[in-house]
Structure formats: structure tokens, C-alpha cells
């Protein structure tokens, strides 16, 4: 199996605080890897270093055989990211936003790409509306369209279904599942929704206090810790970690 992403001994220190401590993992081609952990455990910091937004204190991120620190611009062409904490300009229409990002990512046939994504993500009915007036579910689908505008081979999803109703959440999950298989994408999924992670991810990393405290397939982790589901595993690992602290 081809390794799309290799993370080697990655660390980030903010002054004396170690936000991420020498973590290593890989993401294979056509794999959705889950990244689980409580708030502030280092998930966002890890993703930011993988996207080149943050310079690691130590270690490196290798994407398609290239170090992100030395090849940031060329690798960013092949990557994209969505998070509920970042938004698209609200005063621009959905179409205008997608045109802008199509240009920024150097997409050749922007109109065709927008049409394709509009159909797949059901954007047609509000494609000309201002992004700011859309519902959370609609905005989420627009963000997903922006994240797919450049046909990325590596996608970072930070809580992609947070605050969505069950129907929209299920639509987004099905879409991610389908498109990752079709396009053989490598996806890093950070989520607090354990059912989502179990459904979508082949492998899972459990993080706490900046380190990977366990990893494996969802079923392996459930069996290993003698629990009924991934949520119970998550709670057990994090409670143990609190007690150890």
C-alpha cells in the first residue's frame, strides 16, 4: 500500500508548553485515518503542521515523498482542509467563493468543476445566494465543495459534521465515504463523533496531551479495551490519562 503521508517524530513547543510530542504515523492512499482526542490534545496543531500553517519544532511531515517544509506551495495544490472554525467570506455568493478558490488553486475548468460539485453536493438551489445567509448544513456543503475544488489527493477534515442535523450529517458522511473511494484520497478525519469515526475510518489514532496514546482499527481498539463501542474506549483512555496526570 502506497503511503501518501508520513509523519515522523513531529513535535511542537509553544515556549515551554509541548503541544505535540514526537508523534509518528502514516496515512495510506485511499485510507481514512481517524484522529481522536479531547479538546486541546494537539489535533489541530498536528493538522496545522501537516498543512504547513505551523512550523514544527522537531520532526517532519512527508507528503507524496516531499517534505512539506521545503515544498509547501507545490504540495498545497494537492491538499485541502475544512473546519467549522474557518469560514468562507459571507458577502460573496457561493459561486463567487468557489470561483475565487478555483483561481487560487489553479483549477483549469472552473465552471465545469463548480457544476460537478454543485450537483454532487446539492448546491444548485443556493449557488447564487450569499454564503452568509445559508443554514449550517448548506454552509457545510459549500465548505466541502471548496475543499474539493482542487480535487485534492489529501484531505483534512476537522469535525466535518459538527452542528449538523442527522440527515445532513449522514449525507456528508456518505459523500466523504463515496468520494474517498472513487478518488483514492487519503483523508485525516478529526472528530468527536465516534459513530462517524467507526463508520468511516479504517484506522484510528487516539491522542491526549500531545501524544498518541493508542492506535488500531476501531474493532481492534474496542476488543483490546474490552468495551462495547469506540466512545467507551475514548472515555476509558482519557480517564486513565487524567488519573495518571
Amino acid at each position: 500500500m502506497q503511503k501518501s503521508v508520513i509523519v515522523e517524530n513531529l513535535s511542537k513547543n509553544y515556549f515551554k508548553k509541548e503541544a505535540v510530542k514526537e508523534i509518528s504515523f502514516t496515512i495510506n492512499e485511499n485510507e481514512i485515518l481517524g484522529l481522536l482526542g479531547p479538546n486541546g490534545c494537539g489535533k489541530t496543531t498536528t493538522i496545522a503542521m501537516m498543512l504547513g500553517l505551523l512550523k514544527p519544532s522537531n520532526g517532519r511531515v512527508v507528503i507524496h515523498g516531499l517534505d512539506i517544509e521545503k515544498n509547501r506551495i507545490s504540495l498545497l495544490h494537492k491538499m485541502n482542509f475544512i473546519s467549522p472554525y474557518i469560514e468562507l467570506p459571507k458577502k460573496l455568493s457561493v459561486k463567487e467563493n468557489l470561483i475565487v478558490y478555483g483561481k487560487l488553486y489553479g483549477v483549469k475548468f472552473i465552471s465545469e468543476r463548480i457544476k460537478y460539485l454543485s450537483e454532487k453536493l446539492r448546491l444548485e438551489e443556493f449557488i447564487n445566494k450569499k454564503t452568509g445567509v445559508l443554514s449550517s448544513g448548506q454552509k457545510n456543503r459549500v465548505s466541502l465543495a471548496k475543499a474539493l475544488i482542487n480535487e485534492p489527493s489529501i484531505l483534512f477534515l476537522d469535525e466535518p459534521t459538527a452542528s449538523l442535523d442527522p440527515e445532513t450529517g449522514d449525507f456528508v458522511r456518505s459523500f466523504i465515504e463515496k468520494i474517498s473511494k472513487e478518488k483514492k484520497m487519503s483523508i485525516l478525519l478529526a472528530s468527536h463523533n465516534m459513530d462517524e469515526v467507526k463508520r468511516l475510518c479504517k484506522n484510528v489514532l487516539m491522542m491526549n496531551n500531545g501524544v498518541i496514546i493508542d492506535k488500531g482499527t476501531p474493532d481492534e481498539l474496542i476488543k483490546k479495551h474490552g468495551k462495547r463501542n469506540l466512545e467507551e474506549v475514548f472515555l476509558k483512555l482519557n480517564r486513565n490519562n487524567h488519573e495518571l496526570k
Binding site: 511542537k12 469560514e87 467570506p89 489553479g106
Partner: protein, 263 residues
């Protein structure tokens, strides 16, 4: 450098401006108010001041030039602030954009924003006050260019602060030009300033630009050495501004401010 990406970022702001009448009116409003206000002050001075006696339009011309500087700098900062306010900042920095492309796109967009504000102001000075800034002749182009470069340079300094320190640096964006105005000798010769401040002022291109504007209007003499001095100083400050922007980006990547800048 990719023209596509530069156009992309330009379009991001063009779509924003064209879709909002209040934004366009805001761009026009302040220069217009400034020009009307200074138009009356200008009239007063031409009537009562010996220095400006019979020299119609010196103050008003300088006000327009100063406003051009103000608009260009604020426009550059506004483009940056828009990204922070709309929480779009992270999206931009995970797009494959080089810093040089970001600066180029912002410089071009800031020029258009500035001209949207300036052109109506220039147009109303003639029917209202019988003055045309075009009386400065060919040197006007160099004066505008020099002011624009300095405005952009100030924008780069402030944006570097925004990049590194986030929205907390926002107020500096608004006040930066007011700090320089007294030293820029916009409405009076440098000799008015105390000796110490004269030495500081000589390090600013503004002194040479406005000295040149007054020289043309009052004495009808074009002194290209003033324009040359302004351009030399501009080149130095622009180099420092661009270097600072690159440095701030690098620091922001180290300190993590690109992740939570909108928060």
C-alpha cells in the same frame, strides 16, 4: 508568480466591493467629506494668509494628495482585515499562494479601492472650488506614484503586525497615518517644525513629495531632486516593508497565529 492566483485574490475582493453599495459609498464618503472640509479651509487661507496669498488650491491639492496616501494605506490594511473579520484567513494561507502573490494582489486591489474614492473627490473640486489638481502637470504622476508606494509600504508594516499579532493590531491600522501627518509637512514647509523633528521628517518621503507639490503651485518651479529623494526613501522603506512581511509570516508560522488569527 501565477497570474491566475493573483486574479483569484483580486476577484475575491472585487466581488465583495461590487456587491455592496454601502462599501462603495463608504469608499467615496470620507474622501468627499475631507475635500469639502479642506476646500473651505483652503479658501480661507488663500484669502487671509500671506504665504498662500493668490495661490489658489495649495492646501486643497495637498489635502487630495494626503488623502490619496491615506486611502492607499488603509485600503491595503482593509483587505487584510476583511480576511480576519470573515474568518477566511486560514483558508487563504492553506491555498497554494506565495507571499509575493498575496502582496501583488493586495497592491493591485488597494489601488482600485483608492481610485474609487479619489476620482469623485478630484472631479468635484473643479466645479465647487474652481481648482484642478491636474495643474501640477506631469510631476503629479510621480507624486501620486510616490505616495502610493509609501501608502502601500505603511500598509505592509501594519499588515505585518496583523499577521503576527492578529486583530489586536487593528487599531494601529487606523491610527498609523495620523501619527505621520504632523511630520509629513503636508500643509506647511519643514522649517515650521522644531530642529529635532526636522531631522526626523527628512527621513520621510512625505516631506519631499509635499515640498515639491507646494514648489510647483507657489513658485511654478519643478524640482526633480525632491521627487528623486522621495523615490530613494520609498525604495528603502518598501524593501524593509516587504522583508518585514516575509519575516512576520515566518514568525506567524512559528507562533501559530495563522491558525487562530480570527478568534
Amino acid at each position: 508568480m501565477s497570474l491566475n492566483r493573483i486574479i483569484g485574490l483580486f476577484l475575491r475582493h472585487f466581488f465583495l466591493i461590487k456587491s455592496s453599495l454601502p462599501r462603495i459609498l463608504d469608499l467615496i464618503y470620507w474622501p468627499t467629506i475631507q475635500i469639502i472640509l479642506w476646500g473651505f479651509i483652503s479658501k480661507f487661507f488663500t484669502t487671509y494668509s500671506d504665504y498662500y496669498n493668490n495661490t489658489v488650491g495649495v492646501i486643497l491639492t495637498c489635502a487630495i494628495l494626503y488623502d490619496f496616501l491615506f486611502r492607499s494605506s488603509i485600503s491595503f490594511n482593509m483587505l487584510f482585515l476583511e480576511e480576519i473579520w470573515s474568518r477566511n484567513f486560514t483558508n487563504l494561507f492553506i491555498a497554494p499562494m506565495r507571499i509575493s502573490e498575496i502582496i501583488t494582489a493586495l497592491v493591485g486591489t488597494a489601488l482600485i479601492r483608492t481610485l474609487i474614492g479619489l476620482v469623485p473627490a478630484i472631479l468635484i473640486t473643479s466645479p465647487l472650488f474652481g481648482i484642478s489638481i491636474l495643474n501640477l502637470g506631469i510631476p503629479l504622476f510621480f507624486l501620486f506614484l510616490s505616495l502610493y508606494i509609501f501608502g502601500i509600504t505603511l500598509g505592509l508594516f501594519v499588515s505585518s503586525g496583523l499577521l503576527r499579532y492578529g486583530p489586536a493590531f487593528e487599531n494601529i491600522a487606523w491610527s498609523s497615518l495620523f501619527l505621520l501627518a504632523p511630520l509629513g509637512c503636508i500643509y506647511y514647509p519643514i522649517e515650521i517644525l522644531p530642529d529635532f523633528f526636522q531631522n526626523v521628517a527628512k527621513g520621510l518621503p512625505l516631506v519631499y513629495i509635499f515640498e515639491e507639490a507646494r514648489s510647483i503651485l507657489v513658485n511654478q518651479v519643478v524640482n526633480y531632486s525632491n521627487i528623486k529623494n522621495a523615490f530613494i526613501l520609498n525604495a528603502i522603506y518598501l524593501f524593509i516593508g516587504i522583508s518585514l512581511f516575509y519575516y512576520s509570516f515566518s514568525q506567524a508560522r512559528k507562533k501559530g497565529s495563522l491558525i487562530n488569527i480570527g478568534e
